[in-house]
């Protein structure tokens, strides 16, 4: 397994001339753009990690004349706040990425779905959007972006739930297939990309696929913006090259007493101290949408788990059985074990339940509740019981 040293990068927040990058992109053929993105090795930065170039290729191949590019700015994963920062500082690069995506897949319109919690940013973002629209008009490119606000529903970060929300419905994930590339928002072919992904595309076009490909590892190319919080002297946003181990990360950001790192938020994985060295942050190890939470030895991992389960019990959309009822069972189950009202062996049943949720839930939310549950229970069993 490759293991890169911790390397701070400055791609995402680097100021560029958007007109120049867009002109460069628009002078390339659509296939060339797709090829560049494929060659860069870029995988979606929201967390699921689907190759961005493939997503665009599939959407571009659809015959429907009406297509959409959607920017997923419904950043709700506990511990993630990078998209807010990106939008606050370089929204024009997000819009630029959308325009490039739009031209590549054949979409004349795009939506940014911004979580309601970030509504305070909207006036500024809209002003920057006006400027952007003026700029692309100057270039002579016909493309428009609209904003849609969320209203406090974590699940709307799931792509098909997000579409439902844009369409005016409850944010309930759809059955798949069909995938968004064939039937997305308004049942039209849609490429939905994370805020950071779209900015990264701008940089790939500007600097070329090769320089991006050089960063990171075989499975995790490039760099990534991390949202770092918890027991750390330096909480905040850091763009780091992918491929470092959790140990290297902790050496840089820990407070000297780190006992666990939750990688990927409530839906991610808990890495205990004994596994810091062997665990790589990236798709070959623990994937993350950027959320990195450090816990020192003063923290109760029962409280952490309880907090996460409480979160999921509220934020599950509620439509499918494994997720709706499973979350409640996990929460109540650990409470009962903690109180001594259920045997500690009941945790084994709950781990099996978490596995069922992983394989039988309708969408990524229910499928990933088990990640934190299993890794916390396995590594901190005593803290859960006593």
């Amino acid at each position: 397994m490759e293991n890169k040293v911790l390397n701070k990068v400055g791609l995402i927040f680097e100021n560029v001339d958007p007109k120049e990058v867009l002109t460069k992109a628009f002078n390339m053929s659509k296939d060339e753009v797709i090829q560049q993105v494929l060659d860069s090795g870029l995988k979606g930065r929201g967390g699921a990690g689907f190759p961005t170039g493939l997503k665009w290729k599939f959407t571009a191949a659809e015959k429907d004349p009406e297509k959409y590019i959607v920017c997923n700015a419904d950043e709700g994963e506990p511990g993630t706040f990078k998209d807010r920062e990106i939008l606050d500082r370089v929204a024009y690069k997000v819009y630029g990425g959308m325009a490039i995506a739009g031209r590549t897949i054949g979409a004349k319109e795009g939506y940014v779905y911004l979580r309601g919690e970030y509504k305070f940013l909207l006036p500024k973002l809209m002003k920057e959007l006006d400027d952007f629209h003026k700029m692309i008009d100057e270039i002579g490119y016909d493309f428009r972006i609209h904003y849609r606000l969320g209203s406090g529903a974590y699940i709307c970060g799931e792509e098909s739930a997000l579409f439902e929300s844009i369409e005016g419905f409850r944010g309930e994930p759809r059955n798949k297939p069909p995938y968004p590339t064939t039937s997305g928002v308004f049942s039209k072919p849609t490429s939905i990309n994370n805020v950071e992904t779209l900015v990264t595309v701008m940089m790939i076009i500007k600097d070329g696929a090769e320089s991006y490909f050089k960063l990171g590892t075989k499975d995790s190319r490039g760099s990534k913006v991390f949202s770092i919080s918890g027991d750390t002297p330096t909480p905040g946003i850091f763009e780091l090259e992918l491929g470092m181990s959790v140990q290297q990360f902790v050496d840089e950001f820990g407070d000297g007493d780190t006992k666990a790192v939750q990688v990927g938020g409530a839906s991610g994985f808990c890495v205990p101290r004994k596994k810091f060295t062997e665990t790589i942050i990236g798709f070959e190890g623990v994937p993350t949408g950027g959320s990195m939470k450090l816990f020192n030895s003063s923290r109760s991992m029962y409280n952490v788990l309880h907090n996460y389960l409480d979160f999921f019990t509220e934020e599950s959309c509620g439509q499918c059985t494994p997720c709706r009822v499973g979350c409640q069972q996990l929460l109540k189950g650990v409470e009962k074990v903690k109180k001594g009202e259920s045997k500690s062996t009941y945790l084994n049943e709950l781990v099996k339940l978490a596995e069922t949720m992983k394989i039988a839930s309708k969408c990524g939310l229910g499928q990933s509740v088990g990640n934190a549950f299993r890794t916390i229970v396995e590594n901190f069993r005593e803290e859960i019981i006593y």
Partner: protein, 593 residues
């Protein structure tokens, strides 16, 4: 064709087929819960998950289309464990008071539990953690949230089939529930009481409000004279709850059973269905005359039928500006009720105060209809209790009757005679056909010009049907209709009714007369009929209805001897003053939410 294997068996099915359907074609049974043949795919309950080779997770077979080379296994250990867990999870949020539950032995969750989750519960009971409501506000049904498993069949029914959405999914996560508008009582929202949700609920979360005990009490009260009427659609479906196949007619056995149960008179709603035709047919012709001869601008067309209480409530809520278009005729149930405590009591020399009038209906909305304040023309509550087909089956079982071996019996007289025209009221298009058989003959003196009286264009399960009847050779009284083309349309299921109503609202409706039944298939698909229901089952019931019609000696309402006698001895003539007092009603504008 798409080639795939399921449990190592090869199968080729058309593109777009789901894994569930493909498995069915191989006679491989995959359990389901949220799936229903009348409704869109939901993929919520996850009971039907199967293993797909190469897939990261299990897939819901109801929601997954087949693809070339797909390899599916429906019965691996992984699948079995997941399925068991899912059923256990559903049970953990479901109040399992099975032995006391009205749906006991008829509950789909119970059947699944029986197969997959017997023995001790794996998971903790969550019912105590929720503050569930049991809504008994509707006279037609009970909504018990503690038994709800959130499959959303009811929600899909209410929106996809009925275009009402009186209920919707509310809240999220652990608090997700099926709710009316802001949790208002079902009696205070746009609900039509059609009971289509009840007919599709897999558990005891939605059940008809039963009046079985009240009816038994009345039967055993020596001071009461209990008469019962049976709706046309009951006789072709009751058998399904008693071990017969869909579409088997059990009219004679049913009449015998009712008598053995102890009803003092066993009478037929078919009688008052014939009467309805006399009243409604006359009303239509009178409206035509007023409009065409008297040039009375207040007469509105199209005229709508008014037999279906779910439809009545629908138009009252959603299209109140068209209430003047509704026929003022009461439904057959209520015409019967008004006569039971007047004419019938008089003929039988019984004190009407002692008459208890019970009706057996394929319908839950009839319970509501009987409760409407307008329905007291006799000076009493015209209909005391309405039982569904399902409730009658329960009573037959409670009475210990060996239904299959009962002799056939005939209805009692005075209000027991009927014609084939009345029988077909039970199927969509039936009221229209019956009305045309009579109206055409009134106007022309000749039978309606269709082979063997079968007006086939108005029959069948097409959502909206239309027909044109050219009126030729009118008698002197009706010369103004000579050469006229009477345009009629029929819709069943309120989503189809809404299509016709939208046309009417836009002023584009070309019709003179429209028949609407709230339920898919008409009354044979009513919310009070045996469960399950599907298009095939409804078609079988319809076939039975038409063969019942063909086997009748009399097939036109105006030939019904009891009806003829009623007019002669009591009402005078159709639409007479007395007929209006007893047999006609008015409607109420209601809120659209």
């Amino acid at each position: 064709m798409i080639n795939l294997t399921i449990n190592d068996q090869k199968v080729a099915v058309p593109a777009g087929t789901t894994v569930l359907e493909a498995a069915k074609s191989l006679k491989i049974n995959i359990p389901t819960l949220c799936n229903h043949p009348d409704l869109c795919v939901a993929g919520n309950c996850r009971v039907c998950v199967v293993e797909q080779k190469g897939a990261r997770t299990l897939v819901a077979s109801c929601a997954t289309p087949v693809s070339e080379g797909m390899e599916i296994n429906t019965n691996t250990l992984k699948v079995r464990n997941a399925r068991r867990h899912i059923v256990e999870l559903l049970l953990s949020e479901h109040r399992s008071d099975c032995t006391k539950c009205y749906k006991n032995t008829k509950c789909e969750l119970q059947a699944l539990a029986n197969e997959f989750a017997f023995g001790d519960n794996i998971f903790l009971d969550l019912v105590e953690d929720h503050s569930y409501t049991i809504d008994r506000s509707s006279p037609s049904f009970v909504k018990d949230d503690s038994k709800c498993i959130r499959c959303q069949r009811c929600v899909r029914t209410c929106s996809e089939l009925q275009y009402i959405s009186a209920i919707a999914v509310a809240n999220k996560g652990a608090h997700q529930k099926i709710s009316s508008f802001h949790d208002r009582p079902m009696s205070h929202v746009i609900c039509t009481n059609c009971g289509q949700c009840v007919a599709r609920c897999p558990t005891g979360a939605l059940t008809e409000k039963t009046y079985i005990d009240q009816v038994w009490d009345a039967i055993y009260d020596p001071d009461k004279y209990v008469i019962v009427q049976t709706a046309p659609a009951v006789r072709v479906a009751l058998g399904e709850d008693l071990g017969y196949d869909p579409g088997e007619r059990v009219t004679g056995k049913m009449v015998n059973a009712l008598r053995q149960i102890g009803f003092d008179s066993v009478l037929d709603t078919d009688f008052s269905a014939d009467l309805t035709i006399m009243e409604e047919g006359t009303e239509l012709l009178t409206r035509l005359k007023k409009a065409l001869v008297d040039k009375d601008a207040s007469i509105k067309f199209p005229m709508f039928t008014s037999c279906s209480p779910g439809w009545i409530k629908f138009i009252e809520h959603k299209y109140p500006e068209f209430l003047p278009n509704l026929s003022t005729c009461k439904s057959p149930q209520q015409m019967f009720g008004a006569l039971a405590k007047t004419f019938y009591a008089e003929k039988k020399k019984i004190d009407p105060a002692k008459v208890v009038s019970v009706s057996i209906m394929p319908c839950t909305a009839k319970k509501y209809e009987a409760d409407r304040p307008e329905m007291r023309a006799s000076g009493y509550k015209d209909i005391d209790f309405v039982l569904t087909t399902r409730e009658l089956a329960v009573m037959i079982k409670q009475a210990g009757l060996d239904f299959r071996n009962l002799e056939s019996a005939g209805y009692d007289n005075i209000m027991g005679d009927s014609t084939g025209a009345a029988v077909i009221f039970g199927a969509t298009g039936g009221v229209m056909e019956a009305a045309l058989r009579t109206a055409y003959e009134i106007v022309t003196g000749r039978e309606v010009p269709f082979n063997n009286l079968n007006i086939t264009p108005v029959r069948g399960l097409e959502g909206v049907k239309e027909a044109t009847v050219k009126i030729e050779g009118c008698t002197d009284d009706w010369k103004f209709l000579e050469g006229a083309e009477l345009k009629v349309a029929i819709a069943h299921g309120l989503v189809n009714a809404n299509k016709l109503m939208a046309e009417v609202r836009e002023g584009k409706s070309p019709y003179h007369f429209i028949e609407i039944m709230a339920c898919p298939g008409g009354c044979i698909g009513g919310g009070g009929q045996p469960i399950p229901t599907s298009k095939e089952i409804r078609q079988n019931r319809i076939n039975a209805i038409y063969s019942e019609d063909e086997n009748m000696v009399l097939r036109k309402s105006h030939d019904n001897p009891d009806v003829i006698a009623l007019y002669k001895e009591f009402l005078g003539k159709p639409n007479s003053h007395k007929a209006h007092e007893l047999l006609h009603t008015h409607y109420v504008e209601r809120d659209n939410f």
